[in-house]
């Protein structure tokens, strides 16, 4: 199995399209940070303008932690596309190229083949999030240094001590990776159904967009289905930037996302195992 995963990773990282995500995150991450370097103080003043009447802010609030927090907020909505670009190609790409014929006539079970692709797809996803963390925190540290993290939400402001922030970021990136793993599983599921990689990419993004819209509309019908939509939990990494962290809510979100992953992978494995290879 390890060998199959290595092979799948090799195939992923030998394709040009697999680096689009890294390039996009690298470029966007740096651009946002440079913009924050020049305009960040204005943005911070704007965000805190209502609070300045009641509070006096001292110290370096525009720092690498704040910038990383803002980048995580901005990019977790866009990263699904970059993941779908690769995960949607994992099975459908083999069908398009006709390589199913050489891959599935080897003495390896189809379950192992699809499992290795699932694992490799998730490793790619995690590496993308890791890269996001490196770009955000690494470049942030160089350009801004670190300090207290100010988290402003509707009706509340929380300032986290510098020493109390890094572990929250690590868990937040871990949670974001879990959320993106659902996206990877969804794209792999669509990839098992068709013979062209464009379909899974478009379908995955369509599902995410529809779910986000449904989550955002405040009518009773949508409210009742909202708890079942995985997109509702993709931004739950923000829970780690509360004090105290609501563990029960975090666990609920983790279980629901894991449930989605297991469900999507199981369906994909069943479909793939029974699939007639006609390409």
């Amino acid at each position: 199995m390890l060998q199959l995963v290595q092979i799948e990773l090799y195939k992923i990282f030998r394709k040009w399209r697999s680096y689009i995500g890294f390039i996009a995150i690298g470029v966007l991450g740096v651009i946002i940070q440079i913009a924050m370097l020049y305009e960040g103080q204005k943005s911070l003043d704007f965000m805190t303008q209502n609070l300045r009447d009641s509070f006096v802010f001292v110290g370096n609030l525009l720092n690498g932690f704040l910038v990383s927090y803002l980048i995580l907020n901005m990019l977790t909505v866009h990263i699904p596309f970059l993941i779908a670009l690769v995960a949607g190609d994992l099975l459908a790409g083999e069908a398009t190229a006709g390589t199913y014929r050489i891959l599935l006539t080897r003495p390896v079970s189809r379950f192992k083949v699809v499992s290795s692709k699932f694992i490799a797809g998730n490793i790619y996803t995690f590496s993308l999030i890791l890269w996001l963390a490196i770009v955000s925190l690494g470049v942030g540290a160089i350009l801004f240094g670190f300090g207290e993290l100010i988290v402003i939400r509707t009706g509340s402001v929380l300032i986290l001590d510098r020493a109390d922030v890094l572990w929250r970021f690590l868990l937040a990136y871990g949670f974001a990776a879990l959320g993106m793993s659902v996206v990877c599983s969804l794209a792999l599921f669509f990839s098992s159904l068709v013979e062209n990689a464009i379909g899974p990419i478009v379908s995955t993004m369509a599902v995410i967009i529809v779910f986000i819209i449904v989550s955002a509309i405040n009518i009773d019908l949508f409210k009742s289905i909202r708890p079942y939509l995985f997109t509702n939990y993709m931004l739950s990494w923000r829970l780690f930037f509360s004090d105290p962290v609501d563990i029960s809510k975090v666990l609920e979100a983790v279980l629901i996302l894991f449930g989605h992953i297991i469900f999507l992978f199981s369906i994909t494995a069943i479909i793939f195992k029974r699939k007639d290879i006609l390409s």
Partner: protein, 307 residues
Amino acid sequence: MIIEDKVIEVRGLTKDFKEIRAVDSLSVNVYRGDVFGFLGPNGAGKSTTIRMLLTLIRPKEGSIKIFGKSLMEDRNDILKDIGAIIENPAFYNYLSAYKNLEILSRMSGREISSNKIMETLETVGLKERSASKVKTYSHGMKQRLGIAQALLHDPELIILDEPTTGLDPQGMKEIRDLINYLSKEKNKTIFLSSHILSEVEQVANRMIIINKGKTVVEGKVQELLDSAEMKVTIEVDDVEAAGQLIKDSGWAGKLLSINNNKMVFDVKTDEIALLNKYLVSNNISVSSIVPTRSLEEYFLKITNESN
């Protein structure tokens, strides 16, 4: 008594694609050491059958045994000993030929060294281009790489689905030579699918012809072709006398044409000598007899009869 060892034993194999029956209760036996020709016109069900033999497609009904084991139950064990080319060769175009083979070797269930990979590439004449990406290969080179991946793990059974498609005459000859070499020198069993009868005739010892997913005829290649009528061109000194003689005899129905000094007959192999004897005994000098087996006509005839 010689007990022939069945390498492939297919019974009542059936496959439907929605309302179309692609393979219909097909039964096939392939014995150890056979070069088995699997013939049929386009759309006859050859590729569907081969895909079922390789577990790419699930049969609706029927059983497949390979090396005496059930394909459904011992799939991985069986596939370790099969090498196959299925229709057009497909590879990871963004990787080199060597890397493609390396990936496949790691999935073969056998230890295959890098030396063995290079040797196999050398066998098919691709050693010099082993580091080039497959996307730079011509169709013929890809076809040869397809053969390399089929031979890489030294399988007992080699399944070739239309291996000469798109090749030039030299490439076709190389494939035929390779099949003969693998069969005679390496004692491999070869299952060769083709829609070209002459291609099969040159290498196969046994064959089956299918049409619309059903068996039309099966047996030893030589016996089947001997039973087929062939065209014989006989050159005589006095074509007018010979023509009259034939028209007045029981051979009249076999005469196809008379042109210059040549008479063309449609006869079976064992009738050629009788026809020659009849002409000579009636004082007609025969200067040449050229038999031409009308393979395409034979093929068309029996596949049309099955329609």
